[in-house]
Structure formats: C-alpha cells, structure tokens
C-alpha cells in the first residue's frame, strides 16, 4: 500500500462514488472537491500526490484550477489528469498546454486510466526516470 493521496475534483457525486472503490482497491487514499475554489483549498491543505480534474465545474472551470495550480509554488508539481465529458478535439490540447499530464474523455477505460494514474505517480514510469529497470 503506497497510501498516496488522489484528489478527485468533480461536481458529480456519483462519479466520486463510482471511482473511489477502484482507487482504494489499488491502494490510494481518495480526497474530493466539488468546485474550483474548494479544489485549490483542499489541494493546498492536503498536498495530494495527484489530481483528477473535471473541466466543467461550479465557480470556475477546470482550466481555472489548472492555471491556479501552476501559479502556486506548493501545487505546481502535482500531476493533473483531466477526466471530462467534453470533446477532446477541442479541449485535449488546451488542457495539455495548461499543464495537464493526460486527458481522458468520460467514460475512460478502467485499465488505461489506472495505467495513466500509475505513470503520473511515478510508479512505473516517472518523468524524471525513463529507464527500464
């Protein structure tokens, strides 16, 4: 059990309910925030290892959260995976440019999604070490 903390930022409580068991089953601790403002507050307070971010949020969308995180020294290094129902043709590049590590359209494939989470947490491929072991 790594016990790493993942913050899910999404206003859909059912998504939170559906995603949490799988993350927990993989040994992560799950935090949640339902809007842009509390996302920043929780992130600063809890210092999660990863943020799963929805784009359509109350009180400012996901891009606002990304921008804010990139401007705060304590949040700038936290990897972000965007999980949104929005059209990737329009939003994917924008999200990556804003500093997200990956973009998944809802619903994501469980396996691919978890692989990306592990990758982002440096458990298989860390950005700082690209080497096969």
């Amino acid at each position: 059990m790594t016990g790493k903390k993942i913050l899910i930022v999404d206003d859909d409580q059912h998504l939170l309910l559906g995603l949490t068991p799988r993350l927990k089953a993989n040994g992560y601790r799950v935090l949640s925030a339902a809007d842009a403002i509390s996302a920043i507050t929780v992130a600063r307070k809890e210092a999660p290892d990863l943020v799963i971010l929805d784009l359509g949020l109350p009180a400012g969308d996901g891009f606002v959260v990304l921008e804010r995180m990139r401007s705060l020294a304590d949040l700038v290094d936290i990897p972000v995976i965007v999980l949104s129902a929005r059209d990737p043709a329009v939003n994917k590049q924008r999200a990556l440019d804003a500093g997200a590590l990956a973009f998944f359209q809802k619903p994501p494939d469980n396996h691919e999604f978890l692989t990306a989470i592990r990758g982002a947490l440096g458990e298989t491929v860390a950005l700082s070490s690209f080497l096969k072991t």
């Binding site: 559906g18 070490s129 690209f130 096969k132």
Partner: protein, 728 residues
C-alpha cells in the same frame, strides 16, 4: 448570297434562300430540295396592287384585257383594261375567284392556262366563237404561281337592252358606248401572238423583282427583330468584341449593367470590366484565349461597373463562327448574379448556422449523456470486478451484458458527435506513419469479445513486405472496428470474418484493406445505400440492435478524408466484402517542401540522426512520445521534417530529421541537447546527434532528384539503424 443574285437566276431551286425564309415559315424544302412556297408567300408574290400597274399598262398598250389567275385558272383580282363590249358578252363582272374570263366555255379550268403552266411557254387559245386569248405562265424555279391571261376583244355587236345596262354601269350614254364598241379594233391574232412573248418576259421579270423585294424586306425585318431582341434584353449584358477583346457592339442591358454608354465603350478592351487584381493575374487574356481555343469560356467572378463598383457576374464568352470558317468575333452574355450570390450565401450561412446549432446541441447532449454513462460504467465495473464482493455466475453474466450496452451507448454518443462534425467540416484526420498490420491486429482484438459471443472466427491476412500507410491510426481503427462489428452483426453464428491488407492493384500509391464476412450479403439495390446517413438494412433480426446506422457513413467520410475510396462487393446469402484504400507513406510526399531543386542542388538538405541513449538500461516505450514532442520543438516547423519512427523500440532510440538550411545541423543539435536536458533533469538520457549532407547532381529532372535523395535517405536510415554505417 445576296437577294439580287438570287432573284436573277431562273429555273433554279430556291434552296439558298431557305434559311431566311424558312425562319418565317415562308417556304419549306422537300426531299429533292425543291422549295415549296407557303400560301402567304404566294399571296405576297402575286400582290394585286403591285401587279395592277404593269398589267394595266400592258393592256392599254396592246389594247387587250389582261388579268392574273392562279394555277387553276381562277381570276385573281380584277380584269384590267376591260372593254365594254367584252364585258357585255360575259354578262357579269369578272370577279375574284371566277374562272378564266376569256373562255366562252364556262367550265374551268382554262386549257390554255393549264398548258402554259405545264410547258412554261405562252399558249394561245382559240375558242369556237373565234375568240383568241393568250396565257403566259408565272414560274419561280419549278414553282407554279399562276398565269397572266390576255384576251382579244369580242367583235360582235351587243343587243340593245344589254347595251343600255352596260352604258348605265359605265356612266355613259348608250350612244357613246355604241360608238366606243364600234370603234374598237380587234387585235389581230398575230399581234397577240407576238406580244405574248413580251407578256411572258414581263411577267417573269416582275415576278423575280417581287421575290427579291420580299426577300429583302424579310431580311430587314429579321435583322430588325433580332436587333430589337438584343437591344430589348434588359437583364443581361450582351456585347460582342473582336479577337483582341475590343468591344464592337453593346446592348441596352450592357449599358444598364456596366454603366458605359455605347460611345464610351466601343473600341475599348473588355478588360476594363475586370477588377485590377484579375487584370494583374491576366484573367481577361486567359478567358479570351480559352474562348478562342475551345469556342467557349464560362466564368463567375467579380466585375467592375463604370463607377468602379463591384458586382458578381456570371459570364459566358462564345466564339462567333461562320460555318466551318474562321472566328469572326466573340459574343459575351453577362448576368448580374450579385443578388443570387447573396441569397446563396445567406442560405449557406443559414445551413452552417443550423449545422453549428445542431453540433452545439449534440455536443451538449453528448456531454450530458456521458456523465451518467460514466457513473453507470464505474458502478458496473466495480461490481463486475468484485470490488464490492463476490458475484454469482448469473449476476456476472447480467452485469457483463450491462457493460456491453454501456459500451454500445458510448460508441453511439461518439458517432453522433462525428456526424455533426461531418456537416460542420470539422471531422479531421491527422495522418501519420502507421502499419496497417498493427492497426488490423488492434482492431481485431477490440472486436474479439463480440465475435466470440457468436462463435465467429476472426482472421487477418496481411501480405508480407507491405509499406507503411500515411493515415490517422485512431481513425483507421475506428473504420476497421465499424466494418468488423458490422460483419459480426450480419453474420450468423459459426461464420468467419477476414481482414486483409495488400497493395491496391489500381494504384500503387495506396494499400487496399478489406473486411469480408460470411453473412447474409447485401442486395444490389442496397449496396448503393449502405454508406448513406442513417442507412439500415431492414429484415434482419439484428436490425433492432444495430445502432444508429451511422457507422458506414462515418467510415466513408473518414476514408474520403484520407484521400481513399470505400466500396462494397457482395453476394446475397454468401457474404459481403468492404474495401477501402489508404495512401502509402511516402518520404518524398512528406518532405516535398524540403526537396526543392534549389535546396538539393545547393546541398543545404541535411539528414540528422538523433540517437537517444539511456545511461543505464533501455529507454521506456512510454516516453517515446514525450521525446518526440521535445524534438518537434527543436526543429523549424515549416522548414524541417521529423521523420516517423522507422523501427520498433530498441535499447537506443533513434529519430531522424530532414533539415534544411546552411547551418541547420549546428542549430538543431544544440537545441536538442538543451531541450532534452530540461526535459530529463535527472540526466539519465544522452542524445547523440549526427548528420549527413544530401547533395544531388544538378540539372536532372526534379522527379529523378527526389527519387535519388529518398532512396539515399532510406539506405542511410537502414544502415544507421543496423549499426553498419553511422552518420557522422
């Protein structure tokens, strides 16, 4: 062909005049190209007022009565120079339509007239009363028009009663009439005979003169009506010009549309109606040349009025030819299509707006559908994967079916969005270097579950040594999955589906991929329809579960965006094969903008190899994409080309760049070192950059130079990858 020239010819067919007279219904041509004159033209030719003078003059000179008759001997108009005694004998006014006024016999036709027309000669008739009359024919070519009949004065004395009546008619006294009658000298037969030739010649000459006059009048009328037609056209500009483009005539419509008066435009070059940009681009000359060469030039574009205001014109230039002769000039018909264009634009905008609205709506719907779909997906998979405890076999089965349905719903939502993109022209493909074999395998593994459920076997047959394709991998997978899923849907249990890839026989610039099934097949009528939007083949038990029917429509759009073709071959009851083509990857195409003759001959094209070596171990496949993105930042996007991966992952990963510019290598190499260091701050990757300059012999055709340089790159890349011969 002038009217005079024609009119003076005798005994010849009238065919040369046909085109003009025929246009008025004046005459028609029979099989032996003889002209048949219409009743209207006959009446005109034998116009009584016109003939009156000449007949009267003749009658008075020769002292005979003279009249015009038709071919049947019926009198036309009145008898001229009628003499009282003669009149008395006839006992009636010889009127229009009566028989020959000179024959004592009342039974028509007059034999002299008939004979004259038949022989073409003057014929003299004697009747039993000792009367003489002469008939001369009126002939136009072979056409019989009628006859002139001149008669001798009757020399018997009238009866007193009748004399008084005639005197009354003439308004003279009976005494006077008597003297008149007695004073008449009968014309001798010989005189009549001699003058008959004069009468014949006179009649024939006058007839031709009449014909000429009618012909002329007709020509003038045709000309006039054509001119007023052209002039009267208000909504089109009609004008003519000479071979150099100088305006030679100009109608009212042209004046109204373009704003030049006749005097201002005649003699000017028609280029003055073009915009300055078009003139600079040589458009007027191009159109002129095209019209002269092809006989016609049709164009739509902006034109200028005299006041320099633009309007959208639809222009048709036609060369004016005489039969088989040289071009005499050019006629232009111009239509002001500004309003029409405006309306078309408004309609197109409305259509676009509607499509955008639809796209926004569908994008919204898709978004809204995806949110609950995601929750269902997570809950279903959580339970199915045993995260919430064990399941019975039946529970697992039911949940698996639920998951299948979730996936179907997800695909439908994606299709909905794609279809709107087709309409808003936003369905894009991003082609890259891809292996058709790999894409087929990926698609097959996605479809395997569905196929196994129906016990349908999936096979792939890929010809060995196939080149890579230049295609969007995600989109090709989508096409393949669409086609395979379709096949599964319409193939009964225990059937098979084969996916093949080979070179396209018709064009070696393409690969041909195909998906064959052993299903129910498609009837010829439906074959045309399957690629249509919302097309669904009925009468299948599966129809109710076959989705939105958008799969083939989207597949076709995707193939078209790859510049490929898609079609189906099928036999009812035996199965169908869907084929589509994808362009083969080509180094020459990819690097076309670098491989200019100037670049190649100057030796400014450089092949750069970037070997990324891990300090220990090998490079992880997962970060290849990231390294590629770093390299993309190091090159000049419009000048240099980062080649697609040429090999699978190796302990050392090599990227190749075709760069252009005198110092491309130094600039790019230093950038790569810097950027990779930024990216890999733990310094576990080491880039080794090497290069070779590509130079071709000057003066060869560009195609040969390109072939030479691409072959060389392929050799160099291969040798470098195999470690045989590294770039320096």
């Amino acid at each position: 062909m002038s009217a005079e020239a024609f009119g003076l010819k005798t005994n010849q067919n009238l065919s040369p005049a046909v085109p003009i007279l025929a246009s008025n219904g004046g005459c028609a041509v029979d099989e032996s190209s003889n002209v048949t004159l219409s009743p209207g033209l006959r009446t005109d030719l034998l116009d009584l007022d016109a003939w009156g003078d000449i007949l009267m003059t003749y009658g008075r000179t020769i002292k005979v009565a003279v009249a015009l008759t038709d071919c049947d001997g019926r009198l036309l108009g009145k008898c001229h120079n009628v003499q009282p005694v003669w009149k008395l004998i006839r006992d009636a006014t010889p009127d229009r339509g009566a028989g020959c006024p000179f024959c004592l016999s009342t039974r028509p036709p007059c034999t002299a007239i008939a004979e004259a027309l038949q022989t073409g000669e003057a014929v003299i008739a004697y009747d039993q009363a000792g009367l003489t009359h002469v008939a001369v024919p009126l002939l136009l070519g072979k056409q019989q028009l009628g006859a002139i009949v001149a008669g001798q004065v009757f020399d018997r004395f009238p009866e007193p009663l009748a004399l008084r009546r005639v005197a009354k008619d003439f308004g003279v006294s009976a005494q006077k009439l008597w003297e008149l009658a007695r004073g008449q000298r009968p014309v001798s037969r010989s005189v009549l005979h001699a003058s008959s030739e004069l009468l014949g010649a006179l009649g024939q000459a006058f007839l031709r003169q009449r014909y000429g006059a009618i012909f002329q009048a007709h020509l003038a009328a045709t000309n006039q009506s054509f001119r007023s037609l052209v002039e009267g056209v208000r909504d089109y500009a009609l004008f003519t010009m000479d071979l150099s483009g100088r305006v030679t005539s100009w109608n009212g419509g042209a004046e109204r549309m373009l704003g030049y008066a006749d005097a201002d435009i005649l003699g000017k070059n028609f280029a003055c109606t073009f915009t300055p940009e078009d003139i600079q681009n040589g458009l007027p000359e191009k159109q002129l040349r095209k019209a002269l060469r092809a006989g016609r030039s049709v164009d739509e574009g902006w034109r200028l009025r005299a006041n320099r205001k633009q309007f959208w014109a639809s222009v048709n230039i036609t060369a004016l030819l005489e039969d088989g002769g040289p071009i005499r000039g050019l006629a232009i018909v111009m239509d002001d299509a500004t309003e029409r264009r405006k309306v078309a634009n408004i309609l197109e905008e409305a259509r676009q707006a509607r499509a955008r609205l639809q796209e926004n709506f569908l994008s919204h719907v898709s978004h809204e559908l995806r949110t609950p779909l995601t929750a269902i997906y997570f809950f279903t998979t959580n339970v199915l994967d045993g995260l919430l405890g064990d399941l019975t076999r039946e529970q697992r089965e039911h949940l698996s079916l639920a998951l299948e349905n979730v996936k179907q719903l997800k695909d439908m939502v994606s299709d909905l969005l794609d279809i709107t993109r087709v309409e808003t022209h936003k369905l894009n493909v991003e082609p890259q270097h891809a292996s058709s074999a790999k894409l087929i395998n990926e698609a097959l593994s996605t479809c395997r579950t569905n196929a196994e459920a129906k016990n349908i076997s999936l096979r792939s047959e890929v010809a060995p040594g196939l080149p890579f394709v230049w295609a969007d991998p995600a989109r090709v997978r989508q096409i393949l999955i669409n086609l395979i899923d379709n096949g599964i849907k319409f193939t009964p249990a225990n059937g098979s589906i084969t996916v093949e890839s080979r070179r396209f026989a018709e064009d070696d610039g393409f690969l041909c991929l195909s998906v064959s099934d052993t299903g129910c097949g498609i009837s010829p009528a439906n074959r045309e329809l399957v690629f249509d939007r919302l097309a669904q083949v009925k009468s299948s038990a599966e129809a109710s579960r076959s989705g939105l029917g958008l799969g083939l429509f989207i597949s076709r759009e995707l193939v078209l965006r790859h510049d490929g073709r898609i079609w189906v071959e099928s036999q009812l009851g035996q199965g169908s094969t869907f084929y589509f083509t994808l362009p083969v990857f080509s180094l020459a195409k990819l690097c076309a903008h670098v491989f200019t003759a100037a670049n190649l001959e100057a030796g400014s094209v450089t092949l750069i190899a970037v070997d990324v070596v891990a300090v220990e171990g090998g490079v992880q496949a997962d970060i290849l994409f990231e390294i590629r993105r770093v390299l993309e930042r190091c090159i000049h996007a419009f000048k240099d080309v980062l080649l697609p991966s040429m090999s699978d992952v190796e302990p050392v990963v090599t990227f190749f760049i075709v760069a252009c510019g005198p110092s491309a290598f130094q600039v790019i190499a230093s950038r790569i070192v810097r950027e990779l260091q930024n990216f890999d701050n733990a310094s576990k990757l080491k880039p080794v950059v090497s290069s070779t300059t590509l130079l071709v012999a000057p003066g060869h055709p560009r195609e040969e130079q390109i072939d030479e340089v691409t072959a060389r790159i392929e050799r160099l890349v291969q040798a470098h990858l195999l470690g045989k011969e590294r770039l320096k």
